[in-house]
């Protein structure tokens, strides 16, 4: 009887009304989505991942989802993501029209206060770099990666065929002809965005710093943009570039390898290309871009600016307290001296961070690049940073071959460009 009473009473007493528990959940990690062009085959991809891994190791509560993609796809992705509410939390983007649009649309966080609250951090950047990430007096981006573009030459090929290293455009044409005579590809080039570096360097020499920053006036592009295409056409006519069959479907990697494997004598590339040259570095040299006689730029000039390693935080991340904290942490880690040293070591990247260069063992090419920067009489921003990047990709880059082979006029493709801008209400 006792047992029956005990048992039956227990069943009722044990269940209390509105028993309520929460999940025994493990603390949710803060996720940061990161996009830059430092993905895939990009030389910065490896050091970037190393920085991220170390960061996540030290910050167990933060997960970085790195969605970086290399090449041209990057731009479409970052723009669609922002347009579809799929904003990355932290991203790298070179200066130019795209970041301007994002800032204007209020999609990018203002970092001025964060930087002024940590003067030590701010002062670790070279002061001249801030100009390119400051808009209306507010600092939005962290200028981490310094880039320059230059003419890379295979010194050994010049020595072998006893060809003079070109100082001006006429000498460049002679060198082209000489290499063609020896059945060597004079200049490695394809018709992607990076393929336009030769065009951009000619343009920079022709136009000089001011015009490059203001390509359009009175509803049309400056003449030098069309003139530079004529110079390109001149080189195309003397077979300076790989043949049409070779170029068809050629990707950036094949183009770069053409130079690295000594099939081509020259290539116009950015400083990040140094990281891709992993052997026989001393057979390669970087020289100032050949002077163009009717150019405005003071020779030697250098295309010089910020790369994709210019980092921003989205407004979305800023508005989320947890994400803001994590993103600031990540930005500090990404632009730290330690990180700058790692990038310098791994890919020869030049950063705007004040680091002791002595211990870095920069290879010959990087040192030469630094020397070029020091010796340059005019540092000109990359021309593609100052055009509308989307229209540039669609209307200029993709149409370049048609201009070279005479199917389209240079002025016509630039008109298309202007039309596109007008359609998008970017110009009158």
């Amino acid at each position: 009887m006792l047992s029956i009473t005990l048992l039956s009473s227990s069943c009722v007493n044990n269940i209390k009304p509105s028993d309520y528990v929460d999940f025994n959940e493990e603390k949710q990690k803060t996720e940061l989505r990161f996009i830059s062009s430092w993905g895939g085959i990009d030389p910065q991809a490896e050091p970037l991942n190393m920085v991220f891994n170390e960061f996540m190791e030290n910050n167990k509560g933060i997960d970085i989802i790195n969605e970086s993609v290399s090449g041209e796809d990057f731009l479409t992705k970052i723009k669609v993501d922002f347009a579809s509410g799929f904003d990355p939390d932290v991203f790298g983007l070179w200066p130019g029209s795209d970041i301007n649009a994002l800032i204007n649309a209020g999609k990018v966080a203002d970092l001025t206060d964060v930087l002024s609250q940590d003067p030590e951090w701010k002062e670790s950047f070279k002061p001249d770099a801030w100009a390119d990430t400051t808009y209306n007096g507010l600092i939005y981006g962290l200028p981490f990666e310094r880039i320059f573009e230059g003419l890379f030459i295979n010194k050994d090929l010049f020595d072998q065929y006893k060809i003079k290293i070109p100082k001006d455009f006429e000498e460049l044409k002679k060198a082209v002809l000489a290499f063609r005579a020896h059945d060597k590809i004079p200049i490695a080039l394809n018709y992607s965005s990076e393929g336009t570096f030769l065009y951009q360097n000619i343009l920079a020499s022709l136009a000089g710093k001011y015009i490059i920053q203001n390509p359009i006036s009175g509803g049309s592009v400056k003449d030098c943009y069309i003139k530079a295409m004529e110079y390109m056409k001149e080189l195309y006519t003397i077979d300076a570039f790989p043949t049409q069959e070779m170029v068809n479907g050629m990707d950036n990697k094949t183009r770069d390898n053409m130079f690295i494997k000594k099939d081509a004598a020259m290539i116009v590339q950015g400083s990040w290309f140094i990281g891709k040259i992993d052997h026989d570095v001393d057979t390669v040299d970087i020289i100032p871009f050949p002077t163009i006689n009717d150019g405005v730029a003071k020779s030697p000039s250098l295309v010089y600016g910020l790369g994709c390693g210019t980092f921003y935080m989205s407004k979305n991340a800023w508005n989320d307290k947890e994400k803001r904290k994590a993103a600031i942490k990540l930005l500090k880690a990404l632009t730290s001296q330690k990180s700058a040293q790692l990038f310098a070591l791994k890919s020869g990247m030049i950063s705007t961070i004040n680091i002791d260069r002595a211990g870095l063992n920069y290879n010959y090419l990087t040192q030469k690049g630094l020397q070029l920067i020091d010796n340059a009489k005019e540092l000109i921003g990359p021309p593609d940073s100052y055009v509308d990047r989307t229209a540039w990709e669609e209307k200029i880059v993709k149409q370049f071959i048609y201009v070279l082979n005479g199917k389209r006029e240079a002025s016509s493709v630039w008109n298309d460009y202007l039309y596109d801008l007008r359609m998008r209400n970017l110009i009158e």
Binding site: L2, S3, L6, I15, D19, D22, K79, V80, A105, M423
Partner: protein, 604 residues
Amino acid sequence: MKNPFRGLIKIYKDLPIKRKMLYISYFQILIPVIIIGFVSYIISENLIQTKSINYSLDLMRTMELRLTDCVNNLTSISQDLLYDNNIYDRLKGKDRYNYNITSLDEFEKKNTIDNTLNKYTFSRSEIQAIYFETYDRKDKFYRDNHSVKKDIKALVKYDLMSAVARKGHGKAMWYFTMNNGKADNLFLLRTIYDRDNFKEIGLMVFLVNKELFESVYKGLVNDEMQNVVIISPDNKIILSRSPDTSNLLNKSRLRETNKRGGWMIDQNKKTLFTYVSMDDPNWRIMSYIPLKLLYKDIYDFRTLIIMLCILTAFLLTLINMKISKDFVTPIKRLENAMKQIQKGSHKDIEVDRNDELGFITRTFNEMSKEISHLITWIYREQITRKEAQLKALQSQINPHFLFNTLESINWMAQLQNVPEISDMVTALSSLMEANIGRDDKLIPLRDEFKYIDHYIAILKNRFEDRIQLKVYVDNDDILELEIPKLLIQPIIENAVYHGICDINKKGVINLNSYIEYGELIIEVVDNGIGMDKESVKALNETLAMDNDTYFRTRANEERKSIGLENVNRRIKLFYGEKYGLRITSEKDEFTKVRVTIPLKDNSE
């Protein structure tokens, strides 16, 4: 202070051993069984409850994961379409104004878009239709997979949907059309923005296959978890598997479900209610199980424990009864034997065991036998003490002096030639000799009779011819039977002094001896004054008393018939209680004293 347990202890002490053993074994076995049963019941109840809740929550989480997966898939498909430049261009209306585009180009572009939409509506079963419309509403393009009759063009309500979609700022939003309180059509909506200036350029709509969502609980929901509902943040039922959703949609209950997930027990409706909240979209998955189902195992377990307790108690009682009988029976026998001893009789108890109880019983048997002996011995001691008193009186006259005197008288009588005196003195001397050496020494009946002759001879001097002794012996062999010395003489003496002493006629005393039914019967019959009936009855009652009663009640009383009573007691002590004297008498007629003694000497 009074000990509250004293009463209980008293009750316990007064209980018979049989009960005590039963209660003790109940306490010893049932209390642990009940405690263990109770504790394990409580533990297993909690365990089963926790397990069930965790199981149910796990199921919900799995559903949540599946659902999130489905939703993520749809979101990523919609994201895919956003990356598509042809769709983007068409929504931007670029081509409509582009003088460079030929109608063939336009046709090709439209074809490409159609192909893209086909690709998704055909390959992704979760999408029934995809629909795009420009912000200026001048262009719309869509694709149904025609798996159902639904027509996306008719279903899209642009103003309503774009208002919902705008809240997402480009992210996927959900829209439902309701029918009978349940979602009828499910739409995923996205506002599409310009990539350059982030201005709205159009709307994307997916008609989502509801059956696909239903697959989230396929294979997961067992009989106990049938009632599953997925609810939107504004409490609309997106999907339901429950026959009675009103039970779940109780407003007051929904208020408590703002956390990530959990459970509660509704005592009124006797249900366990579990839920999980999703992150994106902010949906809730809820389910309830009747407590009856949840606690089925617990109730079964409880019944089992109760049955076990009852069974244990029953078996325990049986075993206990058997064991206690084994213990209690010998104790009971001892108790009865002790009561018998109190009454004075002794009988051996049967012993069939060698344990402590066997030992006690055996010892008791020996002890009671000893006691019985001691009692007999004490009685004899008392008689002996009485006789010793008598002897002491008798001995006040120096026997040697008496013998010498009697011898002198005998000599003198012979010298004077008075033979009567000589005979009398000789008889007296013989009697005295017998009396002086008196103990329970056995003598032949013949000798006893000789003493009686001497006694009568002496009495004749006083009574002259007024007294006559007639001896009848049935068989001469009887005279050889041995009896304790001077057993009959006191009866003769009693007959003379209380019977014929005061009568006017001749007193005749008949001394008959014969054997009857294996017993020696000696009768002393006188024709004296006799006794009235009451006296005879009283006397016989005293004579018939067993030794124990007699010695406790009557032995010390002073009575006339002390001689008879002594003879009677001597016989009873010597031969056993069933032997002794019996009197019959008629007033003024006769008195007969009948002596019964066994032929065989029964005395130890």
